[in-house]
Symmetry: C2
Subunit: 140 residues, 2 copies
């Protein structure tokens, strides 16, 4: 949530992520960098998965947990399959842009080669409110 707040201060959509390793230690944390980096793929989830895997010399993340304040979009959800993330814990559900419980539901297809455990709706009200506040401010 700190990363999401920091992202909002940079003018980014306030989504933050963290990745913890097998002993619960923090491997990476990041917020969105889409605007700053001119990179529409620089979602918080992508950044922490890439950082953690690079640190582990390419070892995939089956023993890791990805925490993110918003339901991952289809790109990030599908990336979590490539990175072999063990578990995803996310905050607010995203009926419009989500790809886990909504839209293409990327883990729900028979061909999906790796399905993380999913825990959604954690601190849903707080994480959702940050996004609502951000978009309300944008429109004002």
């Amino acid at each position: 949530m700190e990363e999401a707040q920091a992202a909002a201060l940079r003018g980014e959509v306030p989504v933050g992520a963290a990745l913890s390793g097998p002993d619960g230690q923090l491997l990476a944390r990041a917020g969105n960098r889409v605007e700053e980096w001119h990179d529409p793929s620089a979602h918080a989830e992508m950044l922490v998965m890439r950082a953690a895997t690079a640190q582990r010399s390419g070892r995939r993340l089956a023993d890791c947990v990805l925490y993110v304040t918003l339901e991952p979009c289809p790109m990030c959800a599908a990336a979590a399959t490539h990175f072999r993330v063990g578990r995803i814990v996310f905050g607010a559900y995203d009926p419009k842009g989500g790809g886990v419980e909504h839209g293409p539901r990327v883990f729900s297809h028979p061909g999906c080669l790796h399905r993380p455990e999913i825990v959604g709706g954690v601190r849903e009200r707080e994480t959702g409110r940050m996004l609502q506040d951000f978009f309300r401010h944008l429109r004002a």
Copy 2:
């Protein structure tokens, strides 16, 4: 196809991509860098979309064409929505890993905010053969 061949020589799954701008000029070309960069998201398509958008200071790719030797996976297809790619031209269909005509079919959901034009199966036999040769060699 040259990028795919170069990727194979680096021990990468041989997939290559190129991105052309509004006048048909080449903006970026790349092959997979998953192994070399320890980055499971370093698919050829992601690399060219990121490179081209950075070059254009964040301008999205609605007037651009993404060429790739294999049907994009769900991650890359969903990324193409974020990057607002105008058209995707791909080679071999990928019934196991594809995300455009197979699996989650990310552009086929009502919530999908941007759907590139899709042209699939271009030089399908040649692009498919490169992949078959690569995997046959790996198993040998």
